[in-house]
Structure formats: C-alpha cells, structure tokens
Symmetry: C2
Subunit: 313 residues, 2 copies
Amino acid sequence: MRIGLDIMGGDFAPQATVQGAILASKELADGAKIVLFGDEKVAREIIAAQNADPEAFEFVNTSQVIEMGDHPAKAFAQKTDSSLAVGFQMLSAGKIDGLASAGNTGAMLVGTMFTIKTMPGVIRPCIAAPIPNKSEIPTLLLDVGLNPDAKPEVLYQYAIFGSLYAQHVYGINTPKVALLNLGSERDKGNLVAKATYDLMENSQDFNFIGNVEGNDLFYSTKADVVVCDGFVGNVVLKAGEAFYKLTRKRGISDEHFEKFNFENVGGTPIMGVNSTVIIGHGISNEKAIKNMVLQTQRVIEAKLPEKFKEIIK
Amino acid sequence: MRIGLDIMGGDFAPQATVQGAILASKELADGAKIVLFGDEKVAREIIAAQNADPEAFEFVNTSQVIEMGDHPAKAFAQKTDSSLAVGFQMLSAGKIDGLASAGNTGAMLVGTMFTIKTMPGVIRPCIAAPIPNKSEIPTLLLDVGLNPDAKPEVLYQYAIFGSLYAQHVYGINTPKVALLNLGSERDKGNLVAKATYDLMENSQDFNFIGNVEGNDLFYSTKADVVVCDGFVGNVVLKAGEAFYKLTRKRGISDEHFEKFNFENVGGTPIMGVNSTVIIGHGISNEKAIKNMVLQTQRVIEAKLPEKFKEIIK
C-alpha cells in the first residue's frame, strides 16, 4: 500500500507535515509506505535533522505549491507541477492508493472531481466529519458542506457511505444511522427530512434508527452516523468547533472536550469517489498529520468504493 | 400594562411560577401588574406562605391544565377552562397585553395562531431565541423551529422582526443583521440562502451585514441578529444547549458558559403575531420565571406589532 501525503499543504508545512510523516511511518502496517509529494530536498533535510531513515519513504519532487489563498480551480489547472496536482494524477493513475493533505480544501475537492471522479451510481459525493461523543469512537457526521442542497436520494446515499465507513474504518458491526432533524418524531422536519425518513425507514442497506436532534450531537452515542445536508452539517460542525475553542479560550482543560481537538478526531474523508482522499485541518501540527496518515491507511484498507459498488449494483 | 402569566405551565408549576411572579412583581414598572392564570386558591396559598402581598396581582381562576404531554391542538380545543386557553382568550380580547408561559410549547403556538393570529402582511410567524455571546446583550437567533422550510421572502421578514426586537427590546441603535450560512462569501450557501442574500442586500428595512458562519455563534458579536430557517436554527440552538449541559456535566463552572443558562437568557418570543407571547423553558425555576415576566414587560413596551406595521405598510 502506498499512502500519498502532500507535504506542502497546511499552515506549518513542510516542517510539521514531514515530521508527522516520520511519526506515522513508525506505526504503519507491513507493506505500507508513505509517498511524499513536494520539495524533496527540503523533505530530506527535515528527515536528516530528525535522524530518521529516508528509505522509509518514497519521494515525488514537485516544484509548485497551491497556497491556501489560491483560487482552487484555477490553481489546480495552472500549477500542474504542484504537490497536489501531481498527487492527484498519481492517485488517479493508481500509483498511490490514497492521498492526504492539510492544504487548500477547495483545490482538493477540485482535484478529486477532476481526476479520480465520482463513483458510478453516486449522485453526489460529500465530506464527512468525525465528531466526538462520550465513547472512544467518534460519530460520523455527513455531509458537512459539499452539497448545501441535498435531495432525499442523495441523503440516502450518504447514509450508505457513513454506514460503510463506521463499519469498516471504526469496526462497528451494525452502525446506527440517524437523520439529523428538529424533533425525534417521524413527522417532524422540513420537506426533505420527512421524505428522507420515508426513504430510509425499512432500508436494507443500513440500520436506520430514526431522527436525532441537535442536542444528540457531541456527547450522546445514540447514533454512530448522522446524516444531514451540507448546509446544516457545516453550521453545526463549525458551532461545535467554536464551542471547543471557547473552552480553550476560557482556560478550561477537560478530558472530554479534549476529544474536540482536531489533532485527535482525524481528517475529513471525501465520500462517494473512486479512491481515498482525506482532507486535514489547515493548522495541523505533526501529531495531526501523523493521525491523518494513519487514518488514510485505515480508509484505504477498508476498500469503501468496492463495498459501495456491491450495495448499489 | 397587564402581563399575563400561566402559573400552571412548567415542570415546577405552580410553586416556581407563583414564586417567580412574586419576585418579578417587585421589579415591575409603575402601572404594570401581573395577571395570574390558574388555580387561584393555590396561588394565594403560595403568596401567603411567601409573605407577599396578594394585592400586587390579579387572579383569573381556571380549572383545567394543559399538560406537557397533551396533544397541543386537541388540548387547546377541549380544555376551554385551562389557564392557557383562558389566557389566550383574554390576550386576544385585549384584556391583557402579553402572555408568558413555561408550559406546553405546541399549545402556546396553537393558541397564538387561533386567537391572536398572524399580523396582516406577515407570511409566516417564527420563534426567536436569545443566545449568548461575549457581551452582555444576547444575539437573537431566528427562526428556531417554527418553519423548517422558509422561503427568502419569509427570511427577509424574520430579519425585520429581529432587527425591531434588538432595537426596541435590547436598545441597540442599528442592529447588525446577518444571514446564517456555510461560508462568509456572498455566493456561498444553498439556493434559499443565496436568494435571501440578494434580497437582503441593500435593504432599507434593516442593516444587513452579510453572512455569518456556525463559528460566529455563541461568542462573537459580529451580528446582533442572525436569521436562518427553523430547521438549522433548531439544530444549532439545541447543539448549543447540549454543549452547555456538557460543561455542567463535566463540572465546569465558568462565567461565560453561565450565560448559556436558560434562567438568564430569557424566553422565546413568537414574532409576527398581533400581540406579545413569550415561551419559557419547561424546566424554569422561579428565577427563570421572574426573568420571563420582566422580559414580557419589555417586549410589550417595545410595541413591536405597531412598528412592524409601519415598515410593511
């Protein structure tokens, strides 16, 4: 298995990204290797400075960087020798099995759609965020922003993505899938939520447990997977992040709230596409990068695209 | 001014409601009086036990109670001598100027729609929640659940309601009104949010400042009023409540998070109807009831229906 990492993406790149790769390399499964996309010379310098073994990595030297402020589509088209563009080309060609980056999110979405593309049968891909709860395994919330308008059939597919992810990445046998709604009763919600409930009820494709509400997020383990459109998912995810930052700002140190730390919860997988892409947080430090690389390994192992094909065939 | 209070509504009624009324009565403006709807005998006993003056109140004795678990519309139609039904009849007849209750929310909405009714020109009423921020004056979030599907014209009216409320109840001169969205840029959002942005931009009816995101809630003072549909508003409000409860559960005591306490932030006004109705939290204690009654006084004084008529005439 070859795990691609964009070492130029993120606020603390390439120092934190290469250091994170070194940390991750020590915990990889046999046969797995990290492929570093970016400035090879700088990467080798950091590896040497850390007394790490460069043989643990493969290097793909690139000369350009898509910056955080770059226009995603333009940058992806124009910076053809950027770490991200080359990474996606190799992912699309099957030369690596997954790609992780803490860089420009928009460019990663563009790269995904233009190179590895949406899986056949998928109406709309989405992005999923692991959010903390009182247990050790996070709740998967999806979509968190890719499709602000999602029809019931689209939400139904999100439920399949989420259920497969929770099963094969988190190891939950029969993941409990819920619809995010403004009430727990089945007749509650907007038109889309009501129609989605009808569609999900009695589904054979996943274990639908009904509606959950906003107060079921961030602590309860009522659901393993929570499905919503990208608009509400994005708003509630950011509200949760803000709330966590607030605890930090107020000087509160607490074991549960520490689970909200992006370093620990992991990156955001793109669901419904032909390969594995994980989006990391821009401010990722080496610990966050390490966890993102290991998460990418787990998601590659889970072979989600194949499993999705079995369900919708 | 006559402020109606349903003393039978709420988990700790009538003990907490009558005690809350006693506390509020000491802080009312000259000429304001609280009208207690419910079991007069019990109310007088509680007042006597507290060594309070029964002359400070008016009593409207009623024999029935709409319970928390009752079906709102059925209960409102059948329990004609309930504190809520009689309260709404008197509100509708102009015999009281406002009505507050911590009882069955659904029955209060039914009562509002069937007695005092939606104001002429209002497409859809909504409910607004004061949410905490870093300042002393809360941010008003609306709608928080009445209309899960809201068109741009409806959201535009919410902005007017919210702006008038912030101006005349909170005393903010030119309230900053924002649209809740998944990005700050004007082209972000679902179809409704984009169309609403276009409608609100350059509005002469309120001071539109653009989009705010989920992480602008609960701390930032970027906006005084945040407009959204009832689906996302409900989800994010409940997520915030859950987060606050979590700080309590984790034994965290903090001045800022104490602002999340429903006792302090106040009840939920129904906006766009012909009179003043304030919905309290079911678990209101006497302090929460006191604050709800005083809030009702301020909202009555603000004469929002008249001011709304001036704008849409």
